[in-house]
């Protein structure tokens, strides 16, 4: 059974009297363990699609099933709880809390669990070690490079051990070399830790790291083998 399954998904936004159709008739299955790159011109609806899969937004039509859960069945609170257990998010801008050190930033999602403080810190430290920043736990975001901040954000995304990682242009703000490191890290998480990764990118070199590439154009999918 695919981990993500979209059926006839459409999304439109209403701006006053005008209706903007962003996604239209999307059918998509993503297998567990896949590393999928989602490409397409600016404004083609990549972020919108990713937000639907991650349970951040609701489709206007169609159904989104992730990990066997039909997202449309969940209320706002239920959806929030579901996200906390099943999805890790990585964004172009790392969106770390500048006043908290790396360890505490990574610990944040665990505040919603029943884990003890000691256990939370231990898990956060483990996540930091996985992304190669075990020795930077006490650094604040302002004391880290962009690449390091994105690693912290990735550690934060995996700390609750979700099956699915959803990444919106994770290397969009990084130089070539650093971007490669981040992509390698996502590859490791995919292959060695069994995470399914869905990554939006503009960069064909980034897409090369993926096992599949999907193209989105004007709200429609065009699949190509990697």
């Amino acid at each position: 059974m695919p981990i993500v399954s979209l059926k006839e998904v459409a999304k439109s936004y209403r701006k006053g009297r005008e209706v903007i159709d962003v996604l239209d008739g999307i059918d998509l299955d993503i297998e567990e363990g896949d590393f999928l790159a989602l490409m397409g011109p600016s404004g083609s609806g990549k972020t919108t699609l990713l937000n639907l899969i991650g349970g951040l937004d609701n489709p206007t039509e169609g159904s989104v099933v992730v990990g066997g859960q039909t997202l449309g069945d969940l209320s706002g609170k239920g959806l929030a709880r579901w996200r906390s257990r099943n999805i890790g998010f990585v964004f172009q801008f790392y969106n770390l809390l500048p006043v908290l050190n790396a360890l505490r930033n990574v610990e944040l999602p665990l505040l919603l669990t029943n884990l003890s403080g000691a256990q939370r810190r231990k898990n956060a430290q483990t996540a930091l070690t996985i992304v190669g920043l075990g020795d930077r736990a006490s650094h604040k975001p302002g004391e880290l490079s962009g690449g390091q901040q994105q690693r912290v954000a990735i550690a934060r995304a995996i700390v609750a051990d979700p099956a699915l990682l959803v990444c919106d242009e994770p290397t969009g703000d990084l130089d070539r070399e650093t971007a490669e490191e981040i992509l390698d890290l996502l590859g490791i998480l995919n292959r060695e830790h069994g995470k399914t990764v869905i990554m939006v990118t503009h960069d064909p070199k980034a897409a090369d790291h993926a096992s599949h590439i999907l193209h989105l154009d004007k709200g429609q999918l065009v699949e190509q083998a990697a």
Binding site: L56, R83, Q92
Partner: protein
């Protein structure tokens, strides 16, 4: 890290902004604490308990005019009056101005017969009557200054010099009285009027006020009018009121302090409200993406809203606690200048509790709008704004 661990560090995000806001909160709460303490000192009437069967006869026009002591005999003849005694305001400094307590020259037996709720051993009362330089103090005062019977207590007469020009009055402690167990300590230092009147340089034959005990408290108003009628045409006209009213009258001489303090505090807190609300609004604007990201992890709208509200409350309580603490710490400064006028001023627990409650309320008001915005924030829109 707990929820508070998530809230507290945010105050350190823009240290200058936080410090400035804390400073203005501090100033506002110092002012609040002082003004409340002063207002409380006024409205509590200052000194001691009020009896319902007691009237106070004071000068009609000004509390600092004396009344002739021989009014006492005339007052005693008014029907319904059971007993009359007198007291006066001595002022006086014991060691240093901050050691403030009221000191009254009185007629020993007359005074204790009217203030029957103040208990003194009969042999001590006799000693007070028979010792010209004798003084008695409340148990609370004795404890405060470590006085024992037999001690000689020097008081500097700041209002009244002695006949020989010296300002040093020395009293021999011959007794210690106490109030009723549940009442506050009367805190008054009493000494012989006869000795005082003879030894003082000026003002002979004058007293500050008379205290009258009436047989039937229900007739108090009638008796009060009868007393005032008797002196209506004398140059020493009187104004008679129940003890309770007279304490309030005393306070009124300084204006309606309650209204003034409320007005000042209202203006100050309105300003603070605008200022802090602005700080919070700015703080929120900077953080929209972060708050949205918290929601992506599964923090609910309610939790994120609460975090913002908690931050506003924490900020105000921190500023409030600093201000109240500072005011409580340096209240001696107030006491020196104001206690001789309005009686004991204390930043006590009720004032501290009121201050903290006000801080929480202020935080809640200031945090409400930002908390609501944070609560309403949708992840998708917030993250889009960041990218734009």
């Amino acid at each position: 890290m707990s929820a508070i661990g998530l809230v507290w560090p945010n105050l350190g995000r823009k240290p200058v902004r936080t410090v400035l806001t804390l400073m203005s909160l501090l100033v506002a709460f110092v002012l609040f604490t002082y003004l409340r303490a002063i207002a409380v000192a006024f409205t509590s009437g200052g000194f001691g308990e009020a009896g319902i069967d007691r009237l106070v006869v004071s000068p009609k026009y000004s509390i600092i005019d004396p009344l002739p002591v021989n009014h006492q005999r005339s007052i005693a003849t008014v029907p319904g009056v059971e007993a009359v005694t007198h007291a006066d305001w001595f002022g006086g400094i014991y060691q240093e101005p901050r050691n403030f307590f009221p000191k009254f020259p009185v007629d020993p037996e007359g005074y204790f017969s009217i203030y029957s709720e103040r208990v003194i051993a009969p042999e001590q009362l006799a000693a007070f009557r028979d010792t010209r330089t004798g003084a008695v103090v409340s148990a609370g005062l004795a404890e405060r200054f470590g006085w024992k019977i037999g001690d000689r207590i020097p008081i500097e007469g700041d209002i009244y010099p002695k006949r020989d020009g010296s300002r040093l009055w020395e009293f021999d402690l011959v007794g210690i009285y106490r109030g009723q167990p549940d009442d506050p300590d009367p805190g008054v230092f009493l000494f012989q009027y006869d000795y005082f009147d003879e030894a003082r340089q000026f003002g002979h034959g004058g007293v500050g006020w008379f205290i009258v005990r009436v047989g039937n408290p229900e007739k108090a108003a009638e008796i009060a009018s009868a007393i005032d009628a008797m002196f209506e045409n004398s140059i020493n006209a009187t104004r008679t009121a129940t003890e309770d009213d007279s304490q309030r009258e005393f306070a009124k001489q300084f204006g309606n302090i309650g209204l003034i303090t409320t007005g000042i505090l209202g203006a100050v807190f309105f300003t603070i409200l605008l200022l802090t609300a602005n700080t919070m609004a700015q703080a929120l604007r900077d953080r929209i993406p972060e708050l949205a990201v918290l929601k992506t992890f599964g923090f609910t709208d309610g939790t994120v809203g609460s975090l913002v509200l908690a931050e506003a409350i924490l900020l105000c309580v921190a500023g409030g606690a600093l201000g109240i603490g500072l005011a409580a710490g340096v209240q001696g400064f107030l006491s020196v200048y104001l206690e001789p006028v309005i009686g004991p001023i204390a930043v006590d627990w009720p004032i501290i509790a009121q201050g903290l409650a006000l801080a929480v309320l202020l935080g809640a008001i200031v945090g409400l709008v930002p908390a609501f915005s944070a609560w309403r924030l949708t992840i998708v829109d917030a993250l889009r704004e960041r990218q734009a």
